[in-house]
C-alpha cells in the first residue's frame, strides 16, 4: 500500500514540475512574440512613413508642373492634394467648376483600413450592367468615373471630375467635353503571373473612346442589364461625336432639362478590356453586346478612381485598396473592406465589436439603442456619432386604378383618411420620417409644403365612401355597391413586403381601422420578385411600395399616361390625367427654376387631389459611425454612396 502511495506521490510531483515548466515556457514564448510584434509594427510604421514621404514628393512635383499653388512642405496640411483645374471657368456655357474641398481634410491622418457592411450580396461589378444601390455606392468611390459630380455643399452645382471642361450650346442640344489628360486606368484584378493575362499587363490612359464604348454598349439592346439605364437615352439622345483622344461632343435630339444631368453623369467603360475575351481576342461586332452583358470580367471591377478593386468573395466581402496613381491626389484611407451582412442584428453586433466602422440603423434598433438606451451607452454618450437625414425616397400605398374599387378618386381619398399616417410613423417607425403628400422629395423646392396631409378621420372616410356609392345595404357590416348589375363587396387584398416587420405592422393596423368603416382588407406578404411580377402584370388591387428619387424630379416614369399601358413600365397603377401629362411634357422643356417650381407645385396639387397613391412618408435614415471613422459626410442626392473625404483615427 505505502509503496503504491509513494509512486502516486512521485507521479503527482513529476506532473507538477512538468506543468510549471510548460507555464514558464509559454510565458517566455509570449514575451518573445510580443517583442517580435513590436518590432514588426515599428517596421510597418517606418515603411508607411516612407511611402508617405514618397507620395508627397511625387505630388509636389506634379503640382509644380501643373502650374499649381501648393508645394509639398513636410508639415503642411492637405498633404499631397492636387489642385485640379478647369479650362476657362468663365466661358459661356461652362457647366463645371473646381471642387474647392480638398480630398484630405487638413487634420486627416493618411492610412488605415475602413470596414463597412453591405446589406445584400453584390451580383456583379460591371457598372453598366448592374444597378443595385450597393454596387453604385462602391462605383462612386472606386470608378470615380463621371465627367462631373454634384457638389457636396450644393447639389445643383457640378464639379469637374474626368472632364476639364464641359460647354453646352445655346440650344442645350450639344455638350462639348474636354477630358483631363494623363488619367490612368487601374490594372485589372487578374493574376499576372499567369501568362494568359499578359496582354492586359500594361498601362492605359483614359480617352474619348472609352466614352464612345459606353454609348455603344448602353444603346445596344443585346446588353440586357443596361435596360433600366437605357430608358432616357433611347428617346432623346442622338450620338457621340469624337473630335480627338481628349475631346468629344454629345448631341441630343431635343432640348430637354434632364439632358444636362444625363450628359454629365456618364462614365467611361474601357474598350481595351470589355471588347476582348479572356485570351485577348477581340469579339466580333455581332456578339459583343451579348458578351458584354455576361463578360468574363464582370465578377470584378475596373476603374480610374481613388480606389482599386482587389478581390471579392461572393456573399462575404469585397476588398479595395488605394490607387497610388489616382489623378485627383491622395485620399486618406488606404484600404476599404466591405462585408456582406444581410442580418440587421448581426450588423449591429459587428458594429459594437468594432468590426465595422459604420452602419445604418433599423427603426427597432433606433428605439432600443437610442430612444430607450442607457444614458451611458456609447450610442448616447458621444462615443458614436449619429447622423440622421431624410432619404431621397418615399413610401406609399398604390391603388390599382383599373380595379373597380379604386377607380373613383373619392374612394382613394377615403382610403387615405382611414390610414393613420402620423401615428403609424411615430409608433411603428419610431418617428423616423416625415408624412408627405406627393412623390417629390420633401426638402426640394418642387415639394409644396403648403399642402397639408389629409388627417386621419374615419368619419370623413365613411362620408366619402357613401358619396361614392359604397353603402352597407344588407347590414352585414361590409360596404357594397352594385357594379355592372352585380353586388360587389368592398373587400380587397394588399400586398406587402415579406421581410419587413414594419410593413406587417402597418398592414395589421390599417386592417383594423378599415374594418371600422366597413371595408375588409386581406393582407398578403410577398417576396419582392413575385410582387414585382404581379405589379408588372397589373394583377393586384393595392400594394405597399417605395421609390427612390432623382435629385431633379421628372415625373414621367411614374405618372405619364404613356407609361400606364407600356409593358414593364413603372406606372403600375395605370394613372392617367391629361393635365398631369401636359405638366410633365412642359417640365421637360422648361429651364427656368422658378417656372419649374410652379409647374411641379401644380403637379403636386393634382397628386394630392387625385390620390393615385396614398403617399405615406419620406424615410429618415440613421447612420452611426464609430470613433475611428472621422469626417464622415453625406452627399444629399446620393446618401448611399460612399464619399472620399473620411479618414481613420487609430487609437
Amino acid at each position: 500500500m505505502s509503496r503504491n502511495l509513494t509512486v502516486q506521490l512521485m507521479t503527482a510531483g513529476l506532473m507538477l514540475a512538468l506543468l510549471i515548466a510548460i507555464v514558464i515556457n509559454v510565458v517566455q514564448f509570449n514575451s518573445i512574440e510580443a517583442t517580435t510584434l513590436e518590432i514588426r509594427q515599428k517596421v510597418d510604421k517606418n515603411q508607411k512613413d516612407l511611402a508617405d514621404i514618397q507620395d508627397r514628393l511625387k505630388k509636389g512635383v506634379s503640382v509644380g508642373n501643373g502650374g499649381g499653388g501648393t508645394t509639398a512642405n513636410a508639415g503642411g496640411d492637405n498633404s499631397g492634394a492636387v489642385k485640379l483645374t478647369v479650362e476657362d471657368p468663365d466661358a459661356k456655357g461652362q457647366l463645371v467648376s473646381v471642387d474647392p474641398t480638398p480630398l484630405m481634410a487638413p487634420d486627416a491622418v493618411p492610412g488605415g483600413t475602413l470596414n463597412i457592411p453591405a446589406g445584400s450580396d453584390f451580383k456583379g461589378w460591371n457598372f453598366l450592367v448592374e444597378s443595385s444601390t450597393d454596387v453604385s455606392a462602391v462605383q462612386d468611390v472606386l470608378v470615380h468615373g463621371l465627367l462631373a459630380r454634384r457638389s457636396y455643399a450644393d447639389p445643383n452645382k457640378w464639379h469637374a471630375d474626368l472632364a476639364q471642361s464641359v460647354i453646352v450650346s445655346d440650344d442645350f442640344k450639344t455638350y462639348h467635353v474636354k477630358l483631363r489628360k494623363g488619367v490612368k486606368w487601374h490594372k485589372p484584378a487578374v493574376d499576372f503571373s499567369n501568362p494568359r493575362y499578359k496582354w492586359l499587363d500594361k498601362d492605359h490612359e483614359l480617352t474619348s473612346d472609352d466614352f464612345k464604348f459606353f454609348f455603344e454598349m448602353l444603346l445596344d439592346d443585346k446588353v440586357q442589364g443596361a435596360a433600366s439605364k437605357r430608358g432616357y437615352y433611347k428617346d432623346d439622345f442622338d450620338r457621340i461625336e469624337i473630335i480627338n483622344d481628349y475631346e468629344f461632343k454629345l448631341h441630343w435630339n431635343k432640348k430637354t432639362y434632364q439632358s444636362k444631368a444625363y450628359s454629365l453623369e456618364i462614365f467611361p467603360v474601357p474598350r481595351w478590356l470589355y471588347a476582348y475575351d479572356e485570351d485577348g481576342n477581340a469579339y466580333s461586332p455581332e456578339i459583343i453586346g451579348v458578351k458584354f452583358n455576361s463578360h468574363w470580367y464582370n465578377d470584378r471591377a475596373i476603374g480610374i478612381g481613388p480606389y482599386r478593386f482587389v478581390e471579392a468573395k461572393p456573399g462575404e466581402y469585397v476588398k479595395l485598396e488605394r490607387f497610388p496613381d489616382y489623378f485627383g491626389g491622395r485620399v486618406a484611407i488606404d484600404k476599404i473592406n466591405i462585408y456582406v451582412v444581410k442580418d440587421n442584428d448581426r450588423r449591429l453586433l459587428m458594429f459594437k465589436k468594432n468590426e465595422v466602422d459604420f452602419f445604418s440603423m433599423t427603426p427597432t434598433q433606433y428605439r432600443q439603442e437610442i430612444l430607450e438606451g442607457e444614458d451611458d451607452s456609447p450610442f448616447k454618450n458621444g462615443r458614436y456619432t449619429i447622423t440622421k437625414f431624410l432619404r431621397l425616397a418615399y413610401r406609399y400605398i398604390g391603388w390599382n386604378q383599373k380595379s373597380e374599387l379604386f377607380k373613383d378618386k373619392r374612394v382613394r381619398t377615403a382610403m387615405t383618411h382611414a390610414f393613420d399616417r402620423e401615428r403609424i410613423l411615430s409608433e411603428v417607425w419610431v418617428g423616423l420620417g416625415k408624412v408627405v403628400t406627393s412623390g417629390f422629395f420633401y426638402s426640394s423646392p418642387a415639394y409644396d409644403k403648403s399642402i397639408e396631409p389629409y388627417p386621419f378621420d374615419l368619419n370623413k372616410a365613411k362620408a366619402l365612401l357613401e358619396e361614392a356609392g359604397w353603402v352597407d345595404s344588407d347590414g352585414d357590416g361590409i360596404r357594397d355597391k352594385v357594379i355592372g348589375g352585380k353586388k360587389t363587396k368592398f373587400e380587397f387584398r394588399l400586398y406587402i413586403y415579406n421581410n419587413s416587420a414594419e410593413y406587417k405592422a402597418l398592414a395589421d393596423i390599417y386592417k383594423e381601422d378599415l374594418v371600422k368603416i366597413g371595408v375588409v382588407l386581406n393582407v398578403t406578404p410577398l417576396d419582392w420578385p413575385i410582387m414585382q411580377k404581379r405589379m408588372e402584370d397589373k394583377d393586384f388591387e393595392a400594394f405597399t411600395g417605395g421609390w427612390g428619387l432623382d435629385w431633379e424630379p421628372d415625373p414621367h416614369q411614374l405618372w405619364h399616361s404613356s407609361q400606364a399601358d407600356a409593358p414593364k413600365a413603372s406606372n403600375f397603377i395605370s394613372f392617367k390625367n391629361a393635365e398631369a401629362d401636359e405638366i410633365i411634357d412642359t417640365g421637360r422643356k422648361t429651364f427656368d427654376p422658378a417656372e419649374r417650381t410652379k409647374l411641379f407645385h401644380r403637379f403636386h396639387a393634382i397628386m394630392h387631389e387625385e390620390q393615385p397613391y396614398t403617399f405615406f412618408s419620406v424615410p429618415t435614415t440613421v447612420f452611426v459611425t464609430n470613433e475611428r471613422y472621422q469626417n464622415f459626410k453625406i452627399q444629399k442626392p446620393r446618401p448611399h454612396a460612399l464619399h472620399r473625404l473620411g479618414w481613420i483615427k487609430e487609437k
Partner: protein, 428 residues
C-alpha cells in the same frame, strides 16, 4: 378486442375487462401522466372557452343610443360567428365547439345512463355511434358556417359603455336630468386579440393589459389565450394528416412486403434524407400566401415517415399470425383484412408516436411563425415571440416561451404515460 380467454370465470365478468380498460387502469397509476392528461383537457377547454375569458364585446349591454332610446343587445353571442372578428377557420371551429361541447357532454351522460346494465359490446357500440355522430355534425356545421360567413357592422361597445358611464356621471355632477346609466357584462378580460390600438403601443404589463401590448398595441394576454387554439389545432390536424398517410403506406408495405415494401421503404428513406425543418421551410416558401392550413398540410406531408415505419414493423410481425391466416382463409377481402383485422392490433405504438407528434408539431409551428413564415393573421405564440424578440420586450419572449414549454411538457408526460401503459411488460 376482448382477447382474454380463461376457463373458470363467468362470462359477464370477462366482459367488463377490455383492452382499453386495462390500459386506462395502468395509465392512472402513473400520477404524473394522469395529472398531465387532465391538465391537457384543461388546456383544450381553455382553447374552446377563450372568448368567455377574453373578448372585447359584452355578453349583455343596455344603453341609450344616439336618439336616446334604450337598447339592449347581446353582442358577444353574435360576434362568435362574425367573420369580421373571427376571420380564421380555426376560430370558427372552436366557437362551434364552444356551443356544441356542453351538448355533447350532456348527450354523453344520457347515453351512459341509458346504456347502464347492457353488455360491453352494446355499450361500446353506442359510444362509438355517439362520437361518430358528433364528429360528423361538427364537420358539417363548420363547413356550412365557413361557407356562409355572417358579419355585423363594427361597433365599439367598450367605447359606448365608457361614454355612457361618463355622461351619466357628468349628469350627476351638473344635476341635470340623468340619462340612462348603461349596464353591461363584459368577459373578465375585455381586450381584443387583434384590434390594434396605436395609443397603447408596447405598454408594460399590468393594469388593463395583463401582459402588456405588442408593437401594434394588441393585448399580449389575449393573443396568448387565443394562441392556444392555434397550437392545439396545428398539433392535432397536422398529426392526423401524417398519421393518415403514414398508417396507410406503412400498412400496405408491411402487409404485402416484397416489392411494395421496397418501394415504400425507399420513399421513406428519401424523405428522411432531408432535414424536416428545412424541407418544411422550403415548401412554405413556395406558397404565396401561407395560411395556417397550408402550414398544417405541409407539416403533415413531411412527417409521415415515423408512423409509416412503426406500422410497417407491426404488420410484418402480425401478418404471420393465425388470426390473419384465418381471415384470409375465410375469404375476407384483402382491404378488410388489412384495415379491420390487422390494423387495430398495430395501432398502439402509433398512438404513442402521435402524442409526442402533437408536441413536435406545436414546436414546428412556433418555429415557422418565429421565422415569419407562418400565417401572419393568426395570433400564434411563435409570432408573439418574434415580435418580442424584434422589440426586445422580455415579457413577450417569456410568456409564449412558457406557454409552449407547458403545452409540450404536458403532451410529453401524457405520451410517456401512454407508452408505459401500453407496454405489457411494465404491467403489474
Amino acid at each position: 378486442m376482448d382477447s382474454q380467454q380463461d376457463g373458470g370465470v363467468p362470462i359477464d365478468a370477462i366482459d367488463e375487462v377490455t383492452y382499453w380498460s386495462i390500459v386506462w387502469g395502468q395509465f392512472k397509476k402513473n400520477k404524473l401522466a394522469y395529472g398531465g392528461f387532465w391538465a391537457t383537457i384543461g388546456l383544450v377547454a381553455l382553447a374552446i372557452y377563450a372568448p368567455v375569458i377574453v373578448l372585447e364585446r359584452p355578453f349583455y349591454i343596455s344603453y341609450a343610443n344616439a336618439e336616446g332610446v334604450s337598447v339592449t343587445e347581446f353582442p358577444w353571442f353574435w360576434s362568435l360567428f362574425d367573420r369580421l372578428l373571427f376571420e380564421n377557420g380555426i376560430d370558427v371551429f372552436f366557437n362551434i365547439l364552444l356551443v356544441a361541447s356542453p351538448l355533447a357532454i350532456l348527450s354523453g351522460f344520457v347515453i351512459a345512463r341509458m346504456a347502464k346494465g347492457n353488455p360491453v359490446k352494446i355499450r361500446s357500440k353506442l359510444w362509438r355511434r355517439l362520437v361518430g355522430t358528433w364528429l360528423v355534425l361538427l364537420v358539417v356545421v363548420t363547413v356550412v358556417v365557413s361557407l356562409n360567413p355572417s358579419s355585423y357592422p363594427f361597433v365599439d361597445y367598450r367605447d359606448i359603455y365608457a361614454q355612457g358611464v361618463a355622461q351619466s356621471e357628468l349628469a350627476k355632477v351638473t344635476g341635470k336630468e340623468a340619462t340612462q346609466i348603461p349596464s353591461a357584462i363584459f368577459p373578465p378580460v375585455a381586450q381584443s386579440f387583434r384590434n390594434a390600438e396605436l395609443s397603447e403601443v408596447l405598454v408594460d404589463a399590468g393594469g388593463n393589459h395583463l401582459l402588456g401590448t405588442d408593437n401594434r398595441g394588441r393585448d399580449v394576454f389575449a393573443r396568448m389565450i387565443y394562441g392556444t387554439r392555434i397550437a392545439l389545432t396545428i398539433g392535432v390536424v397536422a398529426v392526423s394528416i401524417y398519421l393518415f398517410i403514414g398508417v396507410i403506406l406503412g400498412a400496405l408495405a408491411g402487409f404485402f412486403a416484397g416489392k411494395v415494401d421496397m418501394a415504400v421503404l425507399r420513399l421513406i428513406e428519401i424523405m428522411r434524407c432531408f432535414p424536416t425543418l428545412l424541407l418544411i421551410m422550403t415548401l412554405v416558401a413556395f406558397v404565396d400566401d401561407p395560411t395556417i392550413w397550408h402550414v398544417m398540410l405541409i407539416i403533415g406531408v413531411v412527417r409521415w415517415t415515423g408512423p409509416a415505419r412503426l406500422v410497417r414493423g407491426e404488420f410484418l410481425k402480425l401478418r404471420g399470425e393465425d388470426f390473419v391466416a384465418a381471415a384470409v382463409a375465410s375469404g375476407v377481402p384483402q382491404w378488410r383484412v388489412i384495415f379491420r383485422h390487422v390494423l387495430p392490433n398495430a395501432l398502439s405504438p402509433v398512438l404513442v408516436n402521435a402524442t409526442f407528434g402533437v408536441a413536435v408539431c406545436i414546436l414546428i409551428e412556433a418555429t415557422l411563425s418565429f421565422l415569419g413564415l407562418g400565417d401572419a393573421s393568426a395570433p400564434s405564440w411563435g409570432e408573439t415571440l418574434n415580435i418580442g424578440k424584434q422589440n426586445g420586450e422580455l415579457i413577450m419572449i417569456l410568456a409564449p416561451g412558457f406557454a409552449i414549454f407547458i403545452t409540450v411538457s404536458l403532451l410529453n408526460l401524457v405520451g410517456e404515460g401512454l407508452r408505459d401503459a401500453l407496454d405489457p411488460k411494465l404491467r403489474r
